[in-house]
């Protein structure tokens, strides 16, 4: 049996989605604009897209690039961030570089990268990689910096070498913070995935969306927006479940399973 408060908390996201769709429907009916289909029209177009083999291949190609870009970025950024957090010299070297890259919208680098690497998978995956890296590096850095020195000393007294301390003390101690960065990175991966496909049309979910826009198929455009949004929510919720399991030991925090951090 769920308490009324728990029931309200569980069902709140569902009500939020229904509320949003209702506002959309009303706004669309009121505006009577061709380029703004109603929620019902857009949702009716979803099965057509998902039933189309071509479209599915496109979406899966997008997800594959996103997974690779995200995975490589995480594997690269966590060690770098941790090293930066524990070594002033490493931080002093990489900080200016990251400060230069930080404010540049990663998609703005696309045209240049396309000149070098073409319009294929490598370019798009690289842009996703860049988008994900910064928040993961930043949070790993902050997490590593905050590790209590006495914890490292305790490890040193037990005979752990500096590398062992980095892997077996700094990494787990910083894990809650690292995973916060990864979660932000995951949402950014989805965003850069779509923008990269907007700039280099060729395949992918973004390609379907912007082609439909060019051809004035507005129900498809909005259906794709709903699909991408749903993908974001599902990925975030799945990631949050993994995160919560991995850091069960950490101090309890107030967290929302469907927040859009």
């Amino acid at each position: 049996m769920m308490s009324p408060a728990a029931l309200a908390r569980r069902t709140a996201p569902v009500f939020a989605c229904i509320g949003l769709l209702a506002i959309w429907q009303i706004a669309s009916l009121a505006l009577k604009n061709d380029s703004f289909p109603t929620a019902i029209e857009a949702i009716r177009a979803i099965p057509d897209i998902l039933g189309d083999k071509e479209a599915l291949i496109n979406i899966l190609a997008s997800l594959r690039r996103m997974a690779i870009g995200f995975g490589v970025a995480v594997l690269f950024s966590i060690p770098l961030g941790l090293l930066m957090g524990r070594s002033r010299a490493v931080a002093a070297f990489f900080n200016p570089l990251l400060m230069i890259i930080y404010p540049v919208p990663k998609a703005a680098l696309m045209p240049i990268i396309m000149l070098w690497l073409g319009v294929g998978d490598i370019t798009k995956t690289l842009v996703i990689f860049l988008g994900v890296s910064l928040p993961v590096i930043y949070h790993s850095f902050e997490g590593a910096k905050a590790v209590e020195e006495k914890m490292l000393w305790s490890g040193a007294a037990m005979g752990l070498s500096p590398l062992q301390r980095l892997v077996r003390i700094v990494l787990p101690a910083a894990l809650p913070e690292i995973l916060t960065g990864c979660r932000t990175g995951l949402v950014l991966a989805l965003i850069t995935m779509i923008t990269s496909e907007m700039i280099a049309r060729q395949s992918g979910a973004g390609n379907i969306l912007f082609n439909a826009l060019d051809m004035g198929q507005y129900d498809t455009v909005f259906a794709m927006i709903v699909i991408v949004g749903a993908m974001g929510i599902c990925l975030d919720a799945a990631f949050e479940r993994i995160r919560a399991r991995l850091v069960r030991w950490s101090e309890p925090q107030f967290d929302l399973p469907l927040s859009f951090s």
Partner: protein, 281 residues
Amino acid sequence: MKVVPSRSSEWVKPVTPQKPASAIIEIDQVSQVFQTSSRKDHLALSDISLTIEERAFVSILGPSGCGKSTLLYIVGGFVSPTSGAAKMKEKAITGPGPDRGPVFQEFALFPWKTVLGNVMYGPRQQGVRAAEAEAQSRALIEMVGLKGYENFYPKELSGGMKQRVALARTLAYHPEVLLMDEPFGALDAHTRTRLQNDLLNIWERDRKTVLFVTHSVDEAVFLSDKVVMMSKSPGRIRQVIDIDLPRPRRRSELLLDARYQKYVVDIERMFDESDEAGSPS
């Protein structure tokens, strides 16, 4: 039973430079200078020489900021002194090692490990086989009074319980010297008293060498064979006092013991005198 000397000067001895045969730790003319932003070159420790005998319980007692922690960190090898040297069994201390086990006021447990995981960490690192390390660790957890909490995470424990785990975690890898930095400083009075009693029971069983930092006169006298009194700005050793009280010590008996009371009163008086002479603390 020995007669209590009536004059404090009879049992208050100055630091003796000669080293006894059973010395385990020797601190030789150690000074520590810290660069600070406001006052450049702050002399935290000035010319400290101290010998700690094997199996002795030695307390370092002094006001906050007199360099107690710094001295302990130097013995632990976590900090290297600006000048002078510390030796453990005639070998210069150049870094941390499992022969010197720290217990910090902040506990510094590994929060991602359970109580058992924390206590097993040291033995596993030393290459003890998992089954054996687990059996030893379970026994230690029972010894510090935490049987039944093996699978709890640190966040699920009270401060006193965390410090018990920290003690067990350090005892688990059998350091020859325990380095305890105000281990009960963050605990409430009741918990603190219980942990003092338990520490004494454990210590009286296997008598490791203990270097114990505290700013509590009661605590130092109750636990120690020897109390090293420090004064601050710069951090110096004022006096080393042998605490000649019988063991095993029982808190309830000791509090009524005139000799115990005299040690406490005399030490407090000496600190008061230095406060009047020096700056207010």
